[in-house]
Amino acid sequence: MTALDVHLTRTIGEFDLDVAFSVESGISVLFGPSGAGKSLTLALVAGLLRPDTGTIAINGHIVTDCASRIFVSTQDRRIGMVFQDGLLLPHRTVLDNVALAVRQSNGRQARRAVARTWLERVGAEAFSERRPGSLSGGQRQRVALARALAGDPALVLLDEPISALDSAVRRELRTLIREVMISSGVPAVLVTHDADEAEELGDVVIGYNDGRVTAMRVVERTNDTGSQSEPFDGTEP
């Protein structure tokens, strides 16, 4: 089944976004320079903004259809989202942050148990009782990843989740994101302007430039440790 189907336009000031693409399971990377419209696309998919025209379908369900005036709220899209700076709730513990995202379990203890499981999977169980303000950037992004997955989402959106981190932590988190997303089986769309990151994380790389999709390429992998493709510059060969 198509995980995400996007046909949309949106104008903000002088900038025109006009994109159409479909992605299947695995990690799809929106890759391109800053200001190309990648994060705007993600915000429109998440329902944080409305497109001017077009449709968005997640797992075959229409969540936005401008012609039919359909607009499913962000809360009801069954998405998980990781932002560049985590955006965890600063006044709640790490465990609370993740437990709040759990939708499928009834009762506080059951939700916290699910949250603990996800914190273990991302290697963040050791600081489950701490508050986000006391964590490093890498630790916060681990928690944000756990929070995004804890709600049993149909699609996870990752908006430059590791671009603000130093190179050593980025390498570590690239591996973690790839492993956790593939093992969870939840399709993901990741935004980056880093070519290496796009190659390493993506099953499909969608090139963006100036509000348009310029290329789309499947990354060849012999195993799950890295790509075997030539570096991708975001344009068709």
Binding site: A46, T74, Q75, I79, G80, L89, T93, A101, A148
Partner: protein
């Protein structure tokens, strides 16, 4: 390690609750205690205690009502885009700039049993609102409300909207975002507004005089009693109590402001 963190967190939460509790106790306790301890003034306790407890009976419910209404209105003003938004803010802020006697006059107009609203409220409460404690509470609530509303609005507008968006993106409905994200993050500003509102309610004079009638033993709060006993020695005890209550309230704001996020 986890157990240690949990214990630390619990201790911090308890410390936070204890801070608020201790502040309230200090305010009431100091007021009560100092009135007694004022050497030579103990004989006046019989005169002072009535207005003191009446002031608490008026200021506490007035602050609670103004706080709830102020936070709700401040939230609506900060987040809502509805017709009449500016009118609501203007009307809500009027008690700050209008002379208290004007507020008192309009309250008398509204609350008198002969009016439609006053008649309805009289039937609900079971007795007249004017020249009663209930009327004093209404007057103090109206005086405190704009401070609570404006502080709440400002604090809520100061919450990073991206954190609220992130909360929606994990599936929290809007009402849970408001209760679990927005209001907790705005709590310092809200607490400051509540404290100033409480101080305003404690010291309310003009509107309370007109609506309550300054009836000795019934509606004479401390600020009214001070003027009535201006030439008598017990005024010092009353003045000191009000000053200490105000100091306790402001200390409370300072402690809340220093509490960590």
């Amino acid at each position: 390690m986890k157990r240690e963190h949990s214990l630390v967190q619990q201790l911090r939460n308890e410390h936070h609750a204890a801070t608020i509790g201790v502040t309230v106790l200090i305010g009431v306790g100091l007021g009560y205690g100092v009135a007694h301890l004022m050497a030579g003034y103990i004989a006046y306790w019989g005169v002072v205690s009535g207005p003191f407890f009446l002031t608490l009976r008026v200021a506490i419910p007035a602050t609670l009502i103004a706080g709830v209404a102020g936070v709700a209105s401040g939230y609506a003003l900060a987040k809502g885009r509805f017709p009449g938004r500016d009118v609501l803010e203007t009307i809500g802020s009027l008690p700050i700039i209008l002379p208290p006697t004007v507020i008192g006059f309009y309250l008398l107009e509204v609350l008198s049993p002969g009016t439609r609203v006053g008649g309805f409220l009289t039937r609900v409460v079971g007795h007249d609102l004017v020249y009663n404690v209930a009327g004093c509470i209404v007057a103090a609530t109206v005086a405190a409300f704009p401070f609570c509303m404006r502080a709440a609005r400002s604090a809520i507008e100061g919450v990073d909207p991206m954190i609220e968006q992130a909360a929606r993106a994990i599936g929290l409905p809007n009402w849970r975002v408001a209760l679990l994200v927005t209001l907790p993050l705005a709590r310092r500003g809200i607490a400051a507004g509540l404290t100033i509102g409480c101080a305003r309610a404690l010291g309310e004079y003009g509107a309370t005089l007109m609506v309550g009638g300054d009836i000795n033993g019934k509606t004479r709060t401390l600020s009214l009693a001070i003027l009535d006993s201006f030439t008598t020695p017990e005024r010092n005890a009353m003045l000191l109590i009000l000053v200490l209550m105000a100091v306790a309230a402001m200390t409370g704001v300072g402690l809340l402001g220093r509490s960590r996020t």
